[in-house]
Amino acid sequence: MSEPFIAALCERIRDHAARKAPLAVRGGGTKDFYGQGCVGEVLDMKPYAGIVAYEPKELVVTVRAGTRLVELESALAAERQMLAFEPPHFGEGATIGGAVAAGLSGPRRAYVGSLRDFVLGTRVVNGKGEDLAFGGRVIKNVAGYDVSRLMAGALGTLGVITEISFKVLPRPAHETTLFFELDEARATEQVNRWAGQPLPLSATAWEAGKLRARLSGAASAVAAAKVRMGGEEIDAGSYWGDLREQRLGFFAPSHALWRLSVPQTAEPMAAGHAQLVEWGGGVRWISGDADAASLRAEAARAGGHATLFRGGDKSVGVFHPLEPAVMKIHRRLKDAFDPAGILNPGRMYAF
């Protein structure tokens, strides 16, 4: 059943390329809100679903792009394994292909790595309708340019991802959450000090004077870390899942939501705005209407970038403007993969 779908997909893309007719590549549509907006005929990847190969002892899973994230995660959980980067779903229909295209990672990212770090291989159809395979199902692979990781976060503008191989990890045996009351500057310093010590830290989040730190690992290691770190052990309930899915009160959908990705030790910024800080200080969520230019200037001064993640006025540009020399490479790469400019045009930048 796999090959007829791919053959038809290639044919359709060739046809669109010949007509220069845009395609909006789409999985579950749960991340339609993300990016600059979709144009063109919808290319639905949901039918191309299923786990192609999963060998728990290899720590590798290969999956078709249309597979729902919940399905993949439950198959891994049955073997006590996981996608360590904790991808946000943002809805029941979320697919793994969409997760890779969006390139978003969850609370564990700062401590185990990002989605792209766990991508081992991809099969993609480029804008010329060519069915291509890069990377593979092995942990170490340096043959050819790492196109697979380039696909992560490219928002489908370079190719239609059809299959992905991931490295997966064992689920930690034990998890707990510690609670501290600290202001933002002290909390940021504290989480960075912890990260410089061999502690089984797996997530941090600070909001309004409250710092939560999650520990994951062998029960004995978590217990020993608890003693070293102090604080109050709490039952986090669904907190970390709610943080990942942006279901916490902070993320109330009526406001614009900005995501500032900055060096973890950056000083507190965007004074006067409601904030939630995760990833050991590396991501500062800003809720409410903020001035795009000044947020971007502040993030850039710190060495980072600002994304208008959800809502707000997209005419200011969802993604941080690129330096001209970097933009030149982007345009040429887009042209190298999709010369007719038909794959999700304008979803990321002007091309």
């Binding site: 790595g113 170490k140 692979n141 043959a143 340019y145 004995s220």
Partner: protein
């Protein structure tokens, strides 16, 4: 025209070109930074893959970014290829000079620019050696995780070019997982920050594509690496097995038990016997294979993991298990693994190191087939490898002085690499394609994929001046290679025009 006069007219054309390019370079660099004499160029003739040699047109040793930019401007103006070189320890010929090109050494870029202990970052110039970073930050309780065997000498710029690994990749990843930013210069002279000091950047993940690009896309000027806290403790389990298959099975069982060891290495009997006489690591010489499995972390984590690993090894049929009781013993257990290549060099005049990567499940099959090939070609083969991540390093023992033996070795090596592809693996796990594996790229990738690689190259380097002829074969080359290797009556690229 006779062959001899063709060679000499070619040589005189090169001599003319050498003086033209050298004159241009002399205008922008100090005289001692431009090398043109044959003796001065000799040290640059090859990298760690010494079977391939070429004399560059000119070698330059720029002292700063402005000088690198000036060299690239000369290269553009004179349309001269540029090959960047770090420490020259690469094993795939990635830094092999281009006979009509400039060899650009980054040896003067040796500064650790800044270390930020709280942010756990170090900003270093590309010529800094891998090990120096860890040594420099050791007093802070930090280290840089990727540890290729050549870490004493290899440069971080070369590590970025090759996406180097080491023995701790399964747990700590490759270079691409341990760097945040590369400041690079393109052949067009644009200085670009690829990545950032934050955990991600706007736009495409250019850092992923530049890391491991073998000097074909841009030249690294500075690297920001991530530092990790040094584990509180580490301990290694050494287990013996009566056959290679059960050792392979034990590897799978350790990982199946939910353990991600810091290192998991295998050595076969030929390797351990070569090594034991060299370093006296205390290896079990009766065993057909030994496994070295390391756990690191907090005392509690390590105690827990070691106990579990011993249990799994025993259940997988280990005939002897030993556990390092202190750091000196741990390092002794490792010493043999780390010295494996030079040790094999003692029992054979020459050896050829292979770098295939396979799914762990295919380990037993590949090892068995390698043994059969070894018999067929009449060459011994020692196996030393990163078992935990399926990265094989078979060492073929040969004697270059015996006519034809190098060619036989290359055929043997090529068969092993194609076997890796057949079982779903890859022709290079960590050493890179360079010039060495360029033909096998034709087997691993289809023409459309190779064409996509060339298009990526052109996005960074439209005129193809950076390290041309490496990493990605031309379709023409693949057609010729395919014609040489018809397998089972079928050409690997039936849809390609033949020349």
């Amino acid at each position: 025209m006779s062959a001899v006069s063709e060679v000499s007219s070619n040589a005189s054309a090169i001599a003319i070109r050498r003086s033209t390019v050298a004159a241009e370079l002399a205008r922008v660099l100090a005289p001692e930074s431009v090398l043109v004499e044959r003796e001065a160029l000799m040290p640059y003739e090859c990298d760690g893959l010494s079977a391939y040699r070429a004399t560059p047109l000119v070698a330059v040793i720029p002292a700063d970014e402005q000088e690198v930019a000036a060299v690239l401007a000369v290269a553009r103006a004179t349309h001269t290829p540029v090959v960047a070189r770090g420490s020259g320890t690469g094993l795939s010929g990635g830094a092999l000079p281009h006979a009509e090109g400039i060899l650009l050494s980054l040896a003067k870029f040796k500064r650790i620019v800044a270390v930020d202990p709280l942010a756990r970052l170090a900003r270093v110039q590309p010529g800094v050696t891998n090990l120096r970073i860890s040594q420099q930050v050791a007093p802070l309780g930090l280290y840089y995780a990727p540890d290729p065997s050549s870490q004493i000498a290899c440069s971080i710029g070369g590590n970025v070019a090759e996406n180097s690994g080491g023995v701790h990749c399964l747990k700590y990843g490759l270079t691409v997982h341990n760097i945040l930013k590369v400041r690079a210069i393109t052949i067009e002279g644009d200085v670009v920050d690829i990545g950032s000091d934050a955990l991600d950047s706007a736009g495409y993940d250019l850092l992923a594509i530049v890391t491991g690009s073998e000097g074909l896309l841009a030249i690294t000027l500075e690297v920001t690496v991530r530092l990790l806290p040094k584990p509180e403790t580490a301990c290694v389990v050494m287990a013996s097995f009566a056959d290679v298959e059960s050792a392979g099975e034990a590897v799978a069982n350790v990982i199946g038990a939910g353990i991600v060891p810091a290192g998991l290495e295998m050595m076969d009997k030929l390797a351990t016997s070569a090594v034991e006489g060299f370093v006296h690591a205390g290896y079990d010489l009766e065993a057909e294979a030994i496994l070295l499995a390391e756990s690191d972390g907090t005392h509690e984590e390590v105690a827990h993991e070691i106990e579990k690993m011993i249990e799994v090894m025993r259940a997988s049929g280990a005939t002897q298990i030993r556990c390092s009781s202190n750091d000196a013993e741990r390092l002794r257990f490792w010493s043999g693994r780390k010295a494996a290549f030079p040790a094999v060099g003692r029992i054979s005049p020459d050896y050829y190191c292979i770098d295939g990567s396979i799914p762990r499940g295919a380990l037993a099959k590949v090892l068995k087939r390698t043994e059969e090939l070894s018999e067929r070609y009449g060459l011994r083969c020692a196996n030393v490898f990163h078992a935990g991540d399926g990265n094989l390093h078979p060492l073929i023992l040969y004697d270059a002085n015996i006519p034809g033996e190098l060619e036989t070795t290359e055929r043997f090596a090529s068969d092993i690499l194609e076997l890796c592809i057949e079982v779903g693996g890859t022709i290079t796990g960590e050493h890179g394609v360079g010039i060495e594996k360029i033909n096998q790229m034709c087997t691993q990738f289809r023409p459309a994929e190779l064409a996509q690689f060339h298009a990526i190259k052109a996005a960074f380097d439209p005129e193809g001046l950076l390290n041309p002829g490496k990493g990605v074969p031309t379709l023409h080359r693949c057609a010729e290679y395919g014609a040489m290797r018809v397998k089972g009556g079928a050409l690997p690229h039936p849809d390609l025009p033949r020349f």
